[in-house]
Symmetry: C2
Subunit: 313 residues, 2 copies
DNA sequence: GCATGCTTTGCTCATATGAGCACTACTAAT
DNA sequence: ATTAGTAGTGCTCATATGAGCAAAGCATGC
């Protein structure tokens, strides 16, 4: 009888379990109604669980994989880990879902007093598009825009700041320029300089992760980064970029081209209380693992398959 | 936020709910570990349930439909109601499943001191075949055997008593005979009389239900019951038989042919502390409802579809 | 500016609950 | 029979928990 109570007892257990778990009656109430002692009721309830009659499921009604989220949080010491179930593994679908989830997370985290920092990227673009409500927090662009489609980077800023109802601090510049001199010149521009001065005030930052191995990031494709540069950085072990911060598998940061980047620095990243990465998909797994290893992140929004790969390896 | 907490909160709730429900930590332990107050933990756990993150399922691992069992028990005031899920609605499959379930129930209910009473019927035959263990309780046949295949009725007694390891009290006679005189003669036989004397000692009885509308019972097909008798009884409203006790839709008992039946009487049925019917299938629904209405039963073992029909109408 | 509700928080105190124990009722072996 | 062994039961007492409350934040109105 250890494994399976008889059918009569099963029904009795079910009755008690229903009263207790579904109708929130106390063991004592049930005991009075059934004529059993409260101890007996308690033991039957224990048996209800141990015999498998009562099953407790913990799952989000809205596609958040809570089990993986919790595991991810504990494994990588994150404060905010959100793993969503994405039925498809098409990049666009993943990005849309991650974006909207990150948007929900932001709406939850941000208050009027916060200052939000953003980088660019397709996932963040999806996030910006899904947002429809935000507190009146400051909005700061943390990096120049990489790749040919600079509009999207600015579109993120425009949309997010419009929803927050504030003027954004923007950076009208590429992420990487050809030489340090040019970078100095750009950083001297009043607009840019003012935005850079906001970095220290940022309380919540959201960034996407770019992958260098495989090469699937806007930065690698940047014209200012010629094949020789790229080759050298790959040899140095760079596998990921977060903003313009380049990271190796072990999580150490490569500063070789810092002087040519128009973006928040590693130290400034680390000074922000809450830094959240939004990224997913098979090609980005290695890069995400690297950025996690760097210790910059306090949060991660990713898809279930990626979370499993991160936890599995 | 009433309906859906943000993803960050969902993860927090999931973490707490996991700790509490799956790892049996107290709210106070969780509060200490997370730095929240125990009140906060309690409120988050409430939210876990109300927001649908925690779902509690009550279902039997062994095919017993506990929800229906409990409903049936309360609706018809039964002590033992067991509803089993039967995938097929073929009579044979239903009977086999009901039989084995009734057997489990018997093994659970019976002790050495009990005296088990049995009628015949295909479902009880299935029960007898599925039994493989019983206490050494007395075994009493409660009714003569109807229909052409008298062997099965005796086979039930043979098998059950063999498993219990005792000598059974049997009735070597048809259920209905052609006239009262013949019945008196049969009842006078020492064997039969001794068995009848056991009826008052029976503590647990199991019987099957025969349907008269539609006509699907061994008794209706009995040779001793000629078409005229049958017609008269149907006109009197008989829709079911339990042993040789004939019942109408309203649950009242028709005694017209009592003097021609070799079986336990209505009054004797009612004197047995625990009377359980085992029956199911679409054709028997009306009959089962009638026998339930008679108030003779303390228990019922049936299939899910029948239970739903009983509860629905 | 200051009232005004409304939510959130942690408190007190009565109540519910669990751990461990002693007691009974069987079982099974000597 | 006697004896130990093994559930099963209900107890005591320390602990966990819930209901209801008061204080603190917080938005919103005038």
């Amino acid at each position: 009888m250890a494994q399976a109570p008889g059918p009569g007892k099963q029904v009795q257990i079910a009755h008690i379990a229903t009263q207790h778990y579904l109708q929130n009656k106390t063991r004592i109430e049930i005991a009075n109604e059934t004529g059993l002692s409260r101890f007996k009721v308690g033991r039957l309830l224990d048996e209800a669980v141990s015999s498998g009659i009562v099953k407790i499921h913990i799952a989000s009604p809205s596609g958040v994989r809570l089990d993986l989220s919790v595991q991810l949080r504990e494994r990588f010491g994150l404060e905010h880990a959100v793993v969503v179930d994405v039925p498809s593994d098409a990049d666009e679908v993943i990005q849309a879902k991650l974006g909207s989830t990150a948007g929900d997370l932001l709406r939850e985290l941000l208050t009027d007093e916060d200052v939000l920092g953003l980088t660019s990227g397709r996932t963040l673009n999806a996030m910006a598009r899904s947002l429809n409500e935000l507190p009146k927090c400051g909005v700061v662009q943390l990096a120049g825009v990489a790749g040919p489609i600079q509009e999207t980077g600015l579109e993120i800023m425009r949309r997010v700041s419009a929803i927050a109802g504030v003027r954004p601090w923007t950076i009208y510049s590429p992420l990487v320029v050809s030489d340090a001199q040019a970078a100095v010149g750009i950083r001297r521009q009043p607009d840019t300089r003012q935005t850079f001065e906001q970095f220290s005030k940022v309380t919540v930052a959201v960034g996407s992760v770019g992958s260098w191995k495989p090469e699937n990031s806007q930065m690698v494709k940047n014209r200012a980064l010629d094949p020789a540069d790229r080759e050298k950085l790959l040899e140095r072990g760079v596998v990921a970029e977060f903003g313009a911060t380049l990271v190796t598998d072990t999580g150490s940061v490569i500063h070789d081209i810092d002087d040519r980047c128009i973006a928040i620095s590693e130290a400034q990243w680390r000074a922000i209380p809450t830094v959240i990465a939004v990224a997913g998909g098979p090609t980005k797994t290695r890069a995400i693992r690297a950025v996690l290893a760097s210790g910059i992140l306090k949060g991660l929004v990713t898809d279930a398959a990626t979370a499993e790969r991160l936890l599995g390896g």
